[in-house]
Amino acid sequence: MSERQRSLSAHLRGGRTEHEGPVLEFGGVHLSFGGLKVLDDVSFHVNPGELFAIIGPNGAGKTSMFNCLSGVYHPQEGTIRFLGQDILGMRPNRIAALGMARTFQNVELFEHLTVLDNLMLGRHLHLKYGAPTAAAFIGRARREELANREVVEDIIDFLEIQPFRKSFVGFLPYGVQKRVELGRALAMEPRLLLLDEPVAGMNLEETEDMARFMLDIRDELEIAIILVEHDMRMVMDLADRVLVVDFGRPVALGPPSEVQSNPDVIRAYLGEEHSVVGGGENP
C-alpha cells in the first residue's frame, strides 16, 4: 500500500460507528409504474465488507433497485433497512448522509465543473461551514476546504487520475469519466457503494483497472459494494454472492459457483443452449 492509499484507507475507515448485522436489508420490495411491475417481491441482504452482485437481462429492474435504495423511486410495498435504519420514504440527501453512495449507468457527472470540483462535491456532507464564513472565505471555510482537498487528492491518487485534476469532466474520455464518478462516490466516505455497470463500454485494460479498484475498495477500504454488471466474467470472478433477477423477479441467489450452474438462471438469462460463463455479453 502506498503512503497515499494508507492515508485514504485510514481516513475512510476512521470515525465509523460499528454496526452489527447486515449493512443492507431489502425485504419483499414491490415497485410498479402504472400497470408495469418493475420489481416483484425482491428480497436480499448485503453483509459488511461484501461484494454483492446483481445480474439480469436488460430491463430486469436492476437500476430500479438502485433508485429505490437511493430514495429516487418509492416502492409500494416492502422494507429497506440501511445500517439498521428504515430508509423507505427518506429523501435522497438524507440517505446519502447515512452513508450510501452510488455511480450511474449513464455517467451523471456535473459536466461544467472540473474533476476537482466534482470530487469536492462528493465531500459536500463533510464540509460543514456555512454561508457567512463562505462569504469571507477565511477561518473555518479555508481550513475545511484545505483538509478536504487532501482527502480528494488521496482519492485522485488511488484512482490514478492525476493528469485530469483541473480538466472539465465534459471533455474527458468515457473511461476516465467513469473513474471520476467512482471517485466522487468514494469521496462521500460511504458504508455502502452502489455501482451501476461500472465497466460497460470499457476496453479490457480499463475493465481490469476498474476490477482492481473494486477489490481494493472492498478489501482495503472495507466498503460493502453492490455491483450491477453485464460482464459475466467479472461478476463471477469478483462477487462474493450473486442475485439474479428477471422481469423484476428474483431467480437465484447465492455464491457465483452455485448460481452459474442453476438451470433456472441459464434458462432465464441466456436461453437454454448457453452456459453462463461463456457469455461475456456487453451491450
Partner: protein, 370 residues
Amino acid sequence: MRGRPGLITSYRKDISLFRTGTQRLWLVVLLLVALWLPLWMPNDWLVPAGISLFAAIGAIGLNLVTGYAGQVSLGHAFFLGIGAYTASALSTVEGPGTRGLLAYGYDMIIWLPAAGLVAALLGVIVAPVALRLKGLYLAFVTLGLVFLGQHLFQSWRELTGGAGIGRRAAELSLLGFRFDEDGEVFGVFLSDTQKIYFLGFVLLVVMALVAKNLARSRIGRAFAAIRDRDIAAEIMGIDLTRYKVIAFAISSFYAGVAGALLFTVTGFLEPNAFNLELSIFYVAMVLIGGVATISGSIMGAVFVTMLPNLIDFVSDYLPYDPATGPLNTGQLEAILFGLLIVVFLIFEPLGLYGLWIRIRNYWKAWPFSY
C-alpha cells in the same frame, strides 16, 4: 522547481482567488483605471458609469441564481423594486413634501442593508416555487412576479406615490456624509456624481468579492451541481430545498441593494420602471457578460448600461448619424441589443468573459500567433 514563476506548490495557493502574480497585477491595473476614470470623465459618461456599477451588483445577483444555480428567473425587476421602495420609504424624512407617503427618516447604514434583507425575505418566500418547477416553467412563473409587483407598486400609494406620480429615491446620506451633494473629501473637491461613482465602486468591489467567495465555496459548488444535474446532486447529499432557498435569498439580497441605489443617481422612482423590460435588461447583462462568472456580470452590466453612450460615440465615426437618420439612439440600441444577445448565445456562450479569455490566450502566445 524554485525560481519558476507561476508554479503552484501548495493547495492553499491553488485555491486562492488570484493564483498568479500576473492575475494580481491585472486586477490592480483594472482597479486603478476604474478609480482614475471619474476624475476626468464628463458627466454624460459619468452618470451612466455610476449607474452601471450599481447595476453590476444586481447582475451579480441574477447570475448567482440563474447562472450558477440554474434557476432561470425573469423576476429580477420585482426584487429591484422591492429594494428601491424599501430604501426610499426608510430613508425619506417626514415633511410637508411627503404627502402621506411612508417616511421613516433612517440613515443609509439602516436602509441599505434593510433593502437587501427585505428583498431576500421575499426571495425566500418565492423560492419554494422553484422546488416544483424547472427551466421555462420557472421562468414563466417568475415573470408573473413582475406583473404582480407592478400591480402592487402602482396601487400601493403610501409606498410608491402611485403611477405617474412616484416618489423620490432614497437619500445618499451615510452617517451624515452626503454623497448626493458636491463637496470636499480629504481635501479634494468632488462633484455629487463623482462621489456616487466612488460609492458604487466600493460597494461593488465588496459585493463582487463576497459573491466570488460564495461561488468557490461548498455553496457555489452545490449551486452548480443543482444546475447541472439535480437528482445526482441530491444523491450526493445536497438538500435541494435548502440550496434553492439560499440561491434565491442571496440573489434577491443583491437585487435589493442594487435597486435601492440604482435610482439615487437620477433621484426619482416611478412604479412603471420595474417592468419586464428591466428584467430582460438584467438577463441580457448575464448573457452578454457571461453565465456563471462574477467578472462577466460586471462586464455585462457596464456594457448594457453604457450602450447608448457607446452607440453615440461610435456613430461619430460612422457615416450614419442617429440625430438625423431614420433610427434614433433608442431604436438603434434596441436593435443592437437584440442582435448582441443572439450573437452571443450562438457564437460565444461564455459572453464577454469568454471573449476576454480568448483575447488573453491569444496574447499569451504573442508574438507566436497560430
